[in-house]
Symmetry: C2
Subunit: 234 residues, 2 copies
Protein backbone atom coordinates (compact mmCIF):
# COMPACT_ATOMS: atom_id res chain seq x y z
CA UNK A 1 0.00 0.00 0.00
CA UNK A 2 1.61 3.25 -1.05
CA UNK A 3 0.84 6.36 0.90
CA UNK A 4 -0.19 8.79 -1.84
CA UNK A 5 -3.82 9.08 -0.91
CA UNK A 6 -4.44 10.10 2.69
CA UNK A 7 -8.18 9.95 2.33
CA UNK A 8 -10.76 9.36 5.01
CA UNK A 9 -13.51 7.55 3.14
CA UNK A 10 -12.75 3.90 2.56
CA UNK A 11 -15.57 1.61 1.62
CA UNK A 12 -16.63 -1.97 1.71
CA UNK A 13 -16.96 -3.14 -1.86
CA UNK A 14 -18.83 -6.30 -2.73
CA UNK A 15 -19.45 -8.28 -5.88
CA UNK A 16 -22.78 -9.96 -6.55
CA UNK A 17 -23.17 -12.50 -9.34
CA UNK A 18 -26.21 -13.03 -11.50
CA UNK A 19 -25.52 -16.56 -12.74
CA UNK A 20 -27.74 -17.62 -15.61
CA UNK A 21 -28.18 -21.22 -16.67
CA UNK A 22 -30.53 -22.70 -19.22
CA UNK A 23 -32.47 -25.83 -18.47
CA UNK A 24 -32.91 -27.36 -21.92
CA UNK A 25 -35.54 -29.88 -20.74
CA UNK A 26 -37.78 -27.35 -19.01
CA UNK A 27 -37.00 -24.73 -21.68
CA UNK A 28 -36.38 -22.43 -18.78
CA UNK A 29 -33.84 -19.73 -18.00
CA UNK A 30 -32.74 -20.07 -14.40
CA UNK A 31 -30.68 -18.23 -11.82
CA UNK A 32 -28.34 -19.79 -9.30
CA UNK A 33 -29.36 -18.46 -5.88
CA UNK A 34 -28.15 -19.04 -2.34
CA UNK A 35 -29.53 -18.50 1.12
CA UNK A 36 -27.68 -15.68 2.75
CA UNK A 37 -25.43 -16.89 5.57
CA UNK A 38 -24.83 -13.65 7.47
CA UNK A 39 -26.78 -10.95 9.27
CA UNK A 40 -28.73 -8.93 8.39
CA UNK A 41 -31.00 -10.94 6.14
CA UNK A 42 -29.63 -14.31 7.20
CA UNK A 43 -31.58 -17.12 5.54
CA UNK A 44 -33.11 -14.94 2.83
CA UNK A 45 -32.62 -15.73 -0.85
CA UNK A 46 -29.71 -13.85 -2.27
CA UNK A 47 -27.43 -13.53 -5.24
CA UNK A 48 -24.12 -15.24 -4.60
CA UNK A 49 -21.65 -12.57 -3.55
CA UNK A 50 -18.72 -11.58 -1.43
CA UNK A 51 -16.52 -8.71 -0.37
CA UNK A 52 -13.62 -7.62 -2.54
CA UNK A 53 -10.41 -8.35 -0.63
CA UNK A 54 -7.33 -6.22 -0.34
CA UNK A 55 -5.04 -6.98 -3.23
CA UNK A 56 -7.86 -8.61 -5.20
CA UNK A 57 -9.24 -7.19 -8.43
CA UNK A 58 -13.00 -6.67 -8.60
CA UNK A 59 -13.39 -9.03 -11.56
CA UNK A 60 -11.17 -11.58 -9.79
CA UNK A 61 -13.48 -11.37 -6.79
CA UNK A 62 -16.47 -12.15 -8.98
CA UNK A 63 -14.60 -15.11 -10.49
CA UNK A 64 -13.78 -16.35 -7.00
CA UNK A 65 -17.43 -16.19 -5.94
CA UNK A 66 -18.50 -18.04 -9.07
CA UNK A 67 -15.79 -20.66 -8.70
CA UNK A 68 -16.49 -21.32 -5.03
CA UNK A 69 -20.11 -21.95 -5.87
CA UNK A 70 -19.85 -23.93 -9.10
CA UNK A 71 -16.29 -25.16 -9.46
CA UNK A 72 -16.21 -23.38 -12.83
CA UNK A 73 -13.70 -20.95 -14.19
CA UNK A 74 -13.17 -19.11 -17.48
CA UNK A 75 -16.88 -18.81 -18.09
CA UNK A 76 -18.58 -15.90 -19.80
CA UNK A 77 -18.85 -13.07 -17.29
CA UNK A 78 -19.70 -9.46 -17.89
CA UNK A 79 -19.95 -6.48 -15.58
CA UNK A 80 -23.52 -5.36 -15.16
CA UNK A 81 -23.62 -2.30 -12.87
CA UNK A 82 -22.16 -0.68 -9.77
CA UNK A 83 -24.75 -0.04 -7.07
CA UNK A 84 -23.56 2.84 -4.91
CA UNK A 85 -26.49 4.20 -2.92
CA UNK A 86 -25.54 4.79 0.69
CA UNK A 87 -28.45 2.87 2.19
CA UNK A 88 -28.80 -0.02 -0.24
CA UNK A 89 -27.59 -2.54 2.36
CA UNK A 90 -29.07 -2.20 5.87
CA UNK A 91 -25.99 -3.92 7.29
CA UNK A 92 -23.68 -1.05 6.42
CA UNK A 93 -22.45 1.05 3.56
CA UNK A 94 -21.46 -1.41 0.86
CA UNK A 95 -20.86 -0.56 -2.78
CA UNK A 96 -21.79 -3.57 -4.87
CA UNK A 97 -20.55 -4.28 -8.37
CA UNK A 98 -22.57 -6.91 -10.16
CA UNK A 99 -21.58 -9.34 -12.90
CA UNK A 100 -23.71 -11.62 -14.95
CA UNK A 101 -22.37 -15.03 -15.88
CA UNK A 102 -23.62 -17.44 -18.52
CA UNK A 103 -22.87 -21.05 -17.68
CA UNK A 104 -23.93 -24.45 -18.89
CA UNK A 105 -26.67 -25.74 -16.63
CA UNK A 106 -25.22 -29.19 -16.10
CA UNK A 107 -21.61 -28.09 -15.64
CA UNK A 108 -21.82 -27.08 -12.01
CA UNK A 109 -20.06 -29.24 -9.45
CA UNK A 110 -22.74 -31.27 -7.61
CA UNK A 111 -20.59 -31.60 -4.49
CA UNK A 112 -20.12 -27.85 -4.25
CA UNK A 113 -23.77 -27.31 -4.94
CA UNK A 114 -24.66 -29.59 -2.05
CA UNK A 115 -22.25 -27.83 0.32
CA UNK A 116 -23.36 -24.33 -0.58
CA UNK A 117 -27.04 -25.13 -0.90
CA UNK A 118 -27.15 -23.17 -4.15
CA UNK A 119 -30.35 -23.69 -6.11
CA UNK A 120 -31.45 -23.04 -9.65
CA UNK A 121 -34.65 -20.99 -9.72
CA UNK A 122 -36.65 -20.10 -12.80
CA UNK A 123 -36.66 -16.42 -13.73
CA UNK A 124 -40.43 -16.86 -14.16
CA UNK A 125 -40.91 -17.48 -10.45
CA UNK A 126 -38.06 -16.04 -8.47
CA UNK A 127 -38.39 -15.98 -4.71
CA UNK A 128 -38.20 -12.65 -2.89
CA UNK A 129 -34.57 -11.60 -2.87
CA UNK A 130 -32.69 -9.76 -0.13
CA UNK A 131 -32.00 -5.99 -0.32
CA UNK A 132 -31.82 -4.64 -3.89
CA UNK A 133 -30.94 -7.99 -5.48
CA UNK A 134 -34.16 -8.16 -7.48
CA UNK A 135 -33.27 -4.85 -9.11
CA UNK A 136 -29.85 -6.29 -9.91
CA UNK A 137 -31.44 -9.33 -11.56
CA UNK A 138 -33.86 -7.23 -13.59
CA UNK A 139 -31.08 -5.04 -14.96
CA UNK A 140 -28.89 -8.02 -15.83
CA UNK A 141 -31.79 -9.68 -17.58
CA UNK A 142 -32.46 -6.57 -19.67
CA UNK A 143 -28.77 -6.50 -20.57
CA UNK A 144 -28.78 -10.18 -21.48
CA UNK A 145 -31.80 -9.65 -23.74
CA UNK A 146 -30.01 -6.86 -25.57
CA UNK A 147 -26.77 -8.80 -25.73
CA UNK A 148 -28.09 -12.00 -27.31
CA UNK A 149 -29.42 -9.92 -30.19
CA UNK A 150 -26.00 -8.62 -31.14
CA UNK A 151 -23.44 -11.13 -29.83
CA UNK A 152 -23.38 -14.93 -30.03
CA UNK A 153 -23.30 -15.30 -26.24
CA UNK A 154 -26.46 -17.39 -26.09
CA UNK A 155 -24.39 -20.41 -27.09
CA UNK A 156 -22.66 -20.19 -23.70
CA UNK A 157 -25.95 -21.40 -22.23
CA UNK A 158 -26.37 -24.40 -24.56
CA UNK A 159 -24.58 -27.75 -24.66
CA UNK A 160 -21.89 -28.17 -27.31
CA UNK A 161 -24.39 -29.69 -29.75
CA UNK A 162 -27.95 -28.48 -30.00
CA UNK A 163 -30.79 -28.43 -32.48
CA UNK A 164 -32.29 -25.31 -34.03
CA UNK A 165 -35.36 -25.96 -31.90
CA UNK A 166 -33.18 -25.85 -28.79
CA UNK A 167 -31.69 -22.57 -29.93
CA UNK A 168 -35.05 -21.00 -30.59
CA UNK A 169 -36.40 -22.30 -27.26
CA UNK A 170 -33.45 -20.61 -25.56
CA UNK A 171 -34.21 -17.25 -27.17
CA UNK A 172 -37.86 -17.60 -26.25
CA UNK A 173 -36.92 -18.39 -22.65
CA UNK A 174 -34.65 -15.34 -22.49
CA UNK A 175 -37.22 -13.00 -24.04
CA UNK A 176 -40.17 -14.65 -22.32
CA UNK A 177 -42.17 -14.61 -25.54
CA UNK A 178 -42.63 -16.52 -28.78
CA UNK A 179 -40.29 -15.89 -31.70
CA UNK A 180 -41.21 -16.31 -35.35
CA UNK A 181 -39.73 -19.66 -36.38
CA UNK A 182 -39.12 -18.92 -40.05
CA UNK A 183 -37.56 -15.52 -39.44
CA UNK A 184 -35.38 -16.90 -36.65
CA UNK A 185 -34.06 -19.75 -38.78
CA UNK A 186 -33.45 -17.53 -41.75
CA UNK A 187 -31.41 -15.11 -39.66
CA UNK A 188 -29.34 -17.70 -37.86
CA UNK A 189 -28.60 -19.73 -40.97
CA UNK A 190 -27.69 -16.73 -43.11
CA UNK A 191 -24.81 -15.95 -40.73
CA UNK A 192 -22.90 -19.19 -41.41
CA UNK A 193 -21.91 -19.54 -37.79
CA UNK A 194 -23.28 -23.05 -37.26
CA UNK A 195 -21.99 -26.40 -38.41
CA UNK A 196 -24.63 -29.04 -39.12
CA UNK A 197 -23.58 -32.37 -37.65
CA UNK A 198 -24.35 -35.85 -38.98
CA UNK A 199 -26.07 -36.82 -35.79
CA UNK A 200 -29.73 -36.32 -35.05
CA UNK A 201 -31.58 -35.61 -31.83
CA UNK A 202 -34.46 -38.10 -31.66
CA UNK A 203 -36.00 -37.56 -28.25
CA UNK A 204 -38.36 -34.78 -29.22
CA UNK A 205 -39.64 -36.02 -32.58
CA UNK A 206 -39.76 -39.30 -34.50
CA UNK A 207 -38.12 -37.88 -37.60
CA UNK A 208 -35.39 -36.33 -35.47
CA UNK A 209 -33.64 -32.99 -35.83
CA UNK A 210 -30.04 -32.45 -36.82
CA UNK A 211 -27.60 -31.29 -34.20
CA UNK A 212 -25.61 -28.15 -34.81
CA UNK A 213 -22.51 -26.69 -33.26
CA UNK A 214 -21.47 -23.05 -32.97
CA UNK A 215 -18.26 -22.14 -34.80
CA UNK A 216 -16.45 -19.47 -32.78
CA UNK A 217 -13.59 -19.35 -35.31
CA UNK A 218 -16.04 -18.37 -38.06
CA UNK A 219 -17.49 -15.67 -35.85
CA UNK A 220 -14.06 -14.23 -35.14
CA UNK A 221 -13.00 -14.33 -38.77
CA UNK A 222 -16.25 -12.74 -40.02
CA UNK A 223 -16.05 -10.10 -37.30
CA UNK A 224 -12.56 -9.16 -38.44
CA UNK A 225 -14.06 -8.68 -41.90
CA UNK A 226 -16.67 -6.26 -40.56
CA UNK A 227 -19.56 -8.66 -39.93
CA UNK A 228 -22.08 -7.90 -37.19
CA UNK A 229 -23.95 -10.68 -35.44
CA UNK A 230 -27.67 -9.95 -35.59
CA UNK A 231 -30.36 -12.16 -34.20
CA UNK A 232 -32.86 -9.46 -33.44
CA UNK A 233 -36.15 -11.28 -33.74
CA UNK A 234 -38.59 -8.74 -32.37
Amino acid sequence: MTGYYQIEGRHLVAVDCIIFGYDIRDKDLKLLLVKRNMDPGRGEWSLPGGFVKEGEGVFEAACRVLNQLTGLQNVYMEQSFAYGDVNRDPGGRVISITYFALIKYLDIDPVKQKTTGAQWRSIKELPILVFDHRKMVDRALRQLREKVKIKPVGFELLPEKFTLVHLQDLYEAIYQRKVDRRNFRKKIQSMNLLEKLEEKEKETSKRGAFYYRFLPANYEEFTRQGFYFNLDVS
Copy 2:
Protein backbone atom coordinates in the same frame (compact mmCIF):
# COMPACT_ATOMS: atom_id res chain seq x y z
CA MET B 1 -22.01 3.05 10.51
CA THR B 2 -23.54 -0.16 11.79
CA GLY B 3 -21.27 -2.94 12.89
CA TYR B 4 -22.59 -5.88 10.92
CA TYR B 5 -19.63 -6.33 8.64
CA GLN B 6 -16.31 -6.77 10.44
CA ILE B 7 -14.36 -6.98 7.24
CA GLU B 8 -10.72 -6.15 6.66
CA GLY B 9 -10.67 -4.94 3.09
CA ARG B 10 -11.92 -1.38 2.73
CA HIS B 11 -11.16 0.45 -0.45
CA LEU B 12 -10.76 3.89 -1.86
CA VAL B 13 -13.47 4.38 -4.44
CA ALA B 14 -13.30 7.18 -6.97
CA VAL B 15 -15.58 8.49 -9.66
CA ASP B 16 -14.23 9.74 -12.98
CA CYS B 17 -16.42 11.70 -15.37
CA ILE B 18 -16.31 11.58 -19.14
CA ILE B 19 -18.01 14.88 -19.94
CA PHE B 20 -19.01 15.21 -23.57
CA GLY B 21 -19.90 18.54 -25.17
CA TYR B 22 -20.61 19.34 -28.79
CA ASP B 23 -19.09 22.38 -30.44
CA ILE B 24 -21.67 23.24 -33.07
CA ARG B 25 -19.37 25.68 -34.88
CA ASP B 26 -16.41 23.30 -35.19
CA LYS B 27 -18.77 20.33 -35.69
CA ASP B 28 -16.67 18.64 -33.09
CA LEU B 29 -17.36 16.35 -30.17
CA LYS B 30 -15.24 17.41 -27.23
CA LEU B 31 -14.28 16.22 -23.76
CA LEU B 32 -13.86 18.41 -20.71
CA LEU B 33 -10.43 17.61 -19.25
CA VAL B 34 -8.43 18.90 -16.33
CA LYS B 35 -4.81 18.84 -15.29
CA ARG B 36 -4.40 16.53 -12.37
CA ASN B 37 -3.65 18.40 -9.14
CA MET B 38 -2.22 15.63 -7.00
CA ASP B 39 0.59 13.12 -6.99
CA PRO B 40 1.26 10.83 -8.69
CA GLY B 41 0.69 12.18 -12.17
CA ARG B 42 0.41 15.81 -11.05
CA GLY B 43 0.06 18.11 -14.06
CA GLU B 44 -0.98 15.36 -16.47
CA TRP B 45 -4.25 15.52 -18.39
CA SER B 46 -6.98 13.70 -16.60
CA LEU B 47 -10.68 13.07 -16.50
CA PRO B 48 -12.33 15.14 -13.80
CA GLY B 49 -12.77 12.91 -10.77
CA GLY B 50 -12.78 12.59 -7.04
CA PHE B 51 -13.04 10.15 -4.18
CA VAL B 52 -16.42 8.95 -2.97
CA LYS B 53 -16.93 10.27 0.54
CA GLU B 54 -18.39 8.51 3.53
CA GLY B 55 -22.12 8.93 3.50
CA GLU B 56 -22.11 9.95 -0.16
CA GLY B 57 -23.69 7.87 -2.91
CA VAL B 58 -21.51 7.00 -5.88
CA PHE B 59 -23.82 8.76 -8.34
CA GLU B 60 -23.99 11.78 -6.01
CA ALA B 61 -20.19 11.89 -6.02
CA ALA B 62 -20.17 12.01 -9.81
CA CYS B 63 -22.76 14.81 -9.74
CA ARG B 64 -20.62 16.72 -7.25
CA VAL B 65 -17.54 16.42 -9.48
CA LEU B 66 -19.52 17.59 -12.50
CA ASN B 67 -21.10 20.45 -10.60
CA GLN B 68 -17.84 21.69 -9.11
CA LEU B 69 -16.36 21.84 -12.57
CA THR B 70 -19.22 23.24 -14.62
CA GLY B 71 -21.79 24.69 -12.23
CA LEU B 72 -24.34 22.36 -13.84
CA GLN B 73 -26.73 19.95 -12.23
CA ASN B 74 -29.47 17.63 -13.44
CA VAL B 75 -27.68 16.90 -16.68
CA TYR B 76 -27.74 13.60 -18.52
CA MET B 77 -25.36 11.25 -16.75
CA GLU B 78 -25.01 7.53 -17.15
CA GLN B 79 -22.79 4.99 -15.47
CA SER B 80 -20.17 3.66 -17.83
CA PHE B 81 -18.05 1.06 -16.02
CA ALA B 82 -16.34 0.12 -12.76
CA TYR B 83 -12.57 -0.26 -13.09
CA GLY B 84 -11.36 -2.57 -10.37
CA ASP B 85 -7.89 -3.84 -11.28
CA VAL B 86 -5.56 -3.71 -8.31
CA ASN B 87 -2.77 -1.81 -10.06
CA ARG B 88 -4.73 0.58 -12.26
CA ASP B 89 -3.63 3.62 -10.23
CA PRO B 90 0.07 3.75 -9.26
CA GLY B 91 -0.83 5.96 -6.30
CA GLY B 92 -2.67 3.21 -4.48
CA ARG B 93 -5.51 0.75 -4.83
CA VAL B 94 -8.44 2.77 -6.07
CA ILE B 95 -11.61 1.35 -7.60
CA SER B 96 -12.95 3.86 -10.09
CA ILE B 97 -16.52 4.04 -11.30
CA THR B 98 -16.94 6.14 -14.41
CA TYR B 99 -19.91 8.12 -15.66
CA PHE B 100 -20.43 9.82 -18.96
CA ALA B 101 -22.28 13.11 -19.04
CA LEU B 102 -23.81 14.91 -22.00
CA ILE B 103 -23.90 18.66 -21.55
CA LYS B 104 -24.51 21.69 -23.70
CA TYR B 105 -21.17 23.09 -24.74
CA LEU B 106 -21.93 26.70 -23.89
CA ASP B 107 -23.67 26.03 -20.58
CA ILE B 108 -20.60 25.63 -18.43
CA ASP B 109 -19.84 28.35 -15.90
CA PRO B 110 -16.91 30.41 -17.29
CA VAL B 111 -15.79 31.48 -13.82
CA LYS B 112 -15.57 27.89 -12.65
CA GLN B 113 -13.85 26.92 -15.84
CA LYS B 114 -11.22 29.58 -15.23
CA THR B 115 -10.67 28.48 -11.62
CA THR B 116 -10.40 24.80 -12.43
CA GLY B 117 -8.47 25.20 -15.65
CA ALA B 118 -10.82 22.72 -17.32
CA GLN B 119 -10.44 22.61 -21.10
CA TRP B 120 -12.51 21.25 -23.94
CA ARG B 121 -10.46 18.94 -26.13
CA SER B 122 -11.58 17.37 -29.38
CA ILE B 123 -12.00 13.60 -29.29
CA LYS B 124 -10.09 13.64 -32.58
CA GLU B 125 -6.92 14.83 -30.90
CA LEU B 126 -6.98 14.01 -27.23
CA PRO B 127 -3.80 14.58 -25.25
CA ILE B 128 -2.19 11.65 -23.47
CA LEU B 129 -4.30 10.96 -20.39
CA VAL B 130 -3.12 9.79 -16.99
CA PHE B 131 -3.35 6.13 -15.88
CA ASP B 132 -6.17 4.20 -17.60
CA HIS B 133 -8.25 7.27 -18.44
CA ARG B 134 -7.89 6.81 -22.18
CA LYS B 135 -9.43 3.36 -21.87
CA MET B 136 -12.27 4.93 -19.88
CA VAL B 137 -12.86 7.47 -22.64
CA ASP B 138 -12.80 4.85 -25.38
CA ARG B 139 -15.38 2.72 -23.61
CA ALA B 140 -17.68 5.67 -22.91
CA LEU B 141 -17.42 6.75 -26.54
CA ARG B 142 -18.39 3.28 -27.73
CA GLN B 143 -21.35 3.37 -25.35
CA LEU B 144 -22.37 6.82 -26.55
CA ARG B 145 -22.25 5.63 -30.16
CA GLU B 146 -24.56 2.74 -29.34
CA LYS B 147 -26.82 4.92 -27.22
CA VAL B 148 -27.55 7.66 -29.75
CA LYS B 149 -28.82 5.00 -32.14
CA ILE B 150 -31.55 3.85 -29.78
CA LYS B 151 -32.28 6.76 -27.44
CA PRO B 152 -32.79 10.46 -28.17
CA VAL B 153 -29.90 11.49 -25.93
CA GLY B 154 -28.03 13.30 -28.70
CA PHE B 155 -30.34 16.26 -28.18
CA GLU B 156 -28.70 16.79 -24.79
CA LEU B 157 -25.65 17.94 -26.72
CA LEU B 158 -27.49 20.44 -28.96
CA PRO B 159 -28.94 23.87 -28.19
CA GLU B 160 -32.71 24.05 -27.71
CA LYS B 161 -33.23 24.88 -31.37
CA PHE B 162 -31.17 23.34 -34.12
CA THR B 163 -31.39 22.62 -37.83
CA LEU B 164 -31.43 19.16 -39.37
CA VAL B 165 -27.93 19.90 -40.64
CA HIS B 166 -26.80 20.53 -37.07
CA LEU B 167 -28.33 17.25 -35.99
CA GLN B 168 -26.67 15.30 -38.76
CA ASP B 169 -23.33 17.03 -38.08
CA LEU B 170 -23.64 15.94 -34.46
CA TYR B 171 -24.16 12.30 -35.41
CA GLU B 172 -21.24 12.47 -37.82
CA ALA B 173 -19.05 13.94 -35.09
CA ILE B 174 -20.04 11.19 -32.67
CA TYR B 175 -19.50 8.41 -35.21
CA GLN B 176 -16.48 10.08 -36.81
CA ARG B 177 -17.80 9.29 -40.26
CA LYS B 178 -20.24 10.54 -42.87
CA VAL B 179 -23.88 9.64 -42.65
CA ASP B 180 -26.25 9.32 -45.60
CA ARG B 181 -28.27 12.55 -45.63
CA ARG B 182 -31.46 11.25 -47.19
CA ASN B 183 -31.64 8.16 -44.99
CA PHE B 184 -30.88 10.19 -41.88
CA ARG B 185 -33.61 12.76 -42.60
CA LYS B 186 -36.13 10.10 -43.48
CA LYS B 187 -35.52 8.27 -40.22
CA ILE B 188 -35.58 11.31 -37.97
CA GLN B 189 -38.66 12.82 -39.57
CA SER B 190 -40.62 9.58 -39.60
CA MET B 191 -40.44 9.47 -35.80
CA ASN B 192 -42.43 12.70 -35.25
CA LEU B 193 -40.21 13.78 -32.41
CA LEU B 194 -39.25 17.18 -33.78
CA GLU B 195 -41.24 20.38 -34.02
CA LYS B 196 -40.43 22.58 -36.98
CA LEU B 197 -40.18 26.22 -35.87
CA GLU B 198 -41.06 29.33 -37.88
CA GLU B 199 -37.58 30.69 -37.52
CA LYS B 200 -34.72 30.01 -39.90
CA GLU B 201 -31.02 29.72 -39.33
CA LYS B 202 -29.31 31.95 -41.93
CA GLU B 203 -25.63 31.89 -41.03
CA THR B 204 -24.74 28.78 -42.97
CA SER B 205 -26.72 29.30 -46.17
CA LYS B 206 -28.45 32.18 -47.98
CA ARG B 207 -31.75 30.39 -48.27
CA GLY B 208 -31.61 29.46 -44.59
CA ALA B 209 -32.68 26.27 -42.84
CA PHE B 210 -35.59 25.88 -40.48
CA TYR B 211 -34.93 25.43 -36.84
CA TYR B 212 -36.36 22.40 -35.05
CA ARG B 213 -36.88 21.52 -31.45
CA PHE B 214 -36.98 18.09 -29.82
CA LEU B 215 -40.30 17.16 -28.20
CA PRO B 216 -39.59 15.05 -25.12
CA ALA B 217 -43.32 14.73 -24.34
CA ASN B 218 -43.89 13.09 -27.73
CA TYR B 219 -41.04 10.70 -27.10
CA GLU B 220 -42.45 9.71 -23.72
CA GLU B 221 -45.96 9.27 -25.05
CA PHE B 222 -44.84 7.22 -28.07
CA THR B 223 -42.58 5.10 -25.84
CA ARG B 224 -45.55 4.29 -23.60
CA GLN B 225 -47.30 3.10 -26.76
CA GLY B 226 -44.46 0.71 -27.60
CA PHE B 227 -42.40 2.94 -29.91
CA TYR B 228 -38.63 2.44 -30.15
CA PHE B 229 -36.35 5.31 -31.08
CA ASN B 230 -34.15 4.23 -33.95
CA LEU B 231 -31.60 6.42 -35.64
CA ASP B 232 -29.25 3.69 -36.70
CA VAL B 233 -27.65 5.12 -39.78
CA SER B 234 -24.87 2.66 -40.48
